[in-house]
Amino acid sequence: MKLVDCARVIRSKNAGPTTLTLDLMFEDDAGFRQALASPSLTPAALAPLYGVPEADVDVVPYAPAFAIKIVLPRKVIAGAPGDRDVYGAQQHGPLLGVEL
């Protein structure tokens, strides 16, 4: 199943100018548990989608909102020369093709 078909929210935003955070929110606890168990949402699987080392990727489950948070370093500090997305609000695209 594609992530985009089972997640209610797939969004990205800066958590400060040096860090990007991606939130995946699911309809219910079952959807959340299923996604959390998927090998596609591990640091090893996510790192190549964003071109960062595996060790730099954090995956944080957040059960109260049936959510999984992915945390990455920004390759360019927000608003520095060469940046493409100052707020980091459009960096979810690489996740839309993920198969769980």
Binding site: K13, N14, A15, G16, P17, T18, T19, T21, D23, M25, P48, L49, Y50, G51, D58, V60, Y62, P64, A65, F66, A67, K69, V71, P73, R74, K75, I77, A78, G79, A80, P81, G82, R84, D85, V86, Y87, Q90, Q91, G93, P94
Partner: protein, 465 residues
Amino acid sequence: MSRPTHLDRLRERLVKDERRAPFLALSGSGQLGNGVLEKAFRAGLARGPHSIGADMGSVDPGPNYLGSGRMAASDTIARQDLALLLEGARAHDIPLLVGSAGTAGARPHLDHTLAMVRDIARERGLHFRLASIAADLPREVVKAAIRRGAVAPIGAIDALTEAEVDGASHLVGQMGIEAFQRALAAGADVVIAGRACDTAVFSAIPAALGYPIGPAMHMAKIIECCSIACMPGGRDAALGTLDDAGFTMESLNPDRHATPLSVAAHSLYEQADPYTVSEPEGMLDVRNARYLALDAHRCRVEGAVWVPAARPSVKIEGASRVGERALLLAGCADPTAIARIKTILPEVEQVVRSIVAGDYRMYFRVYGIDGVVDWPKPPVVPPREVFILGEVIADTADLAKAATTVLKQYLLHHGFPGRVSTAGNVAFPITPPEVQVGTAYRFSAYHVMQVEALEPLFPVTVEDV
């Protein structure tokens, strides 16, 4: 004889025999200056709140505002919002706390906001005690902290150097509740603060009155973005009702509902860690927070814990000038050029550099291919059209213009194998297609500094207007 402060009066009203009556915190705006929705704000005033808070700034919009000293919001809307909140606070004789004045909260932003507040007071005949709190960090203090190893990066940024501290056009620290409490103890009716933690404008008063800091800070974190923590989310004012065990969150727009899921989900928003929030005086831990529906519209939250810090710390933000920026705006609908665009652009850049001498940086974002995301692979199907944003940053505006205009001409007429459209490679949507957009900045500091005491860093100034 001096009159009692708001803290004295609220303590008198709310605290009896070590028990506290519910404290009502009205959140007027999460982005003061971008338009306060008046209906919800007035509905909040009608509930008889004990304080009004509003956040006016953020690091989100990038380094330009901190670097330049300018405000992101327009003066017109910032005045309109400030006037609405000032009149509301004075009509009900409750304290108004505004944090991160003028977007970035450095001296020029604070001065600009204070000038607007004084103007509004004069125009509308309002009289009150105005406190301002500066957030600009003395450079010698930060450099001394670097030397004793008390400054650490936050995320992916280099260690802070003394040269970066000297080079920053502005350098601010995020103040916490302590600074606001000093301003209130000085008798302030209205506090306008430089860079501040988003939470401080809502939690400073209840913390001073003895409400437990964990729930007070958690409430502040939830209501600071107003109704964003609701379903559906929005910008309408929000009300937090705090007591000794927890708090209730509700939107002042009856169509926005604070549900256990929407409020819990807000802990994810713009946070690297959904379970903790670091503040100058300690850390908020919401790992064991419980979210309960009071009804379809209101959510009750309990269980947040406050862990006081052994020694205070301050988040530092600094921005430095990079150079003068010029842009080229161009589109392309030629399939041959689009297929080769990632080769054509560096070729044209080489030609520009052979003509325009000097030190400058050149960047291209090709919308349709990689303008937004640095994709690991090119698109499977090439787009029908692309938009090319060319960017030049040079030490002088003249040099940036020179490189951009030459870029324009040589991109238009660049020859490449298989070229069919020999009269021009790109479409310019406007004339001139090269535009000068002023100074470019970068964040040069985003670090945390351990300090002995917060008070000397955030001086309070009081005046009667």
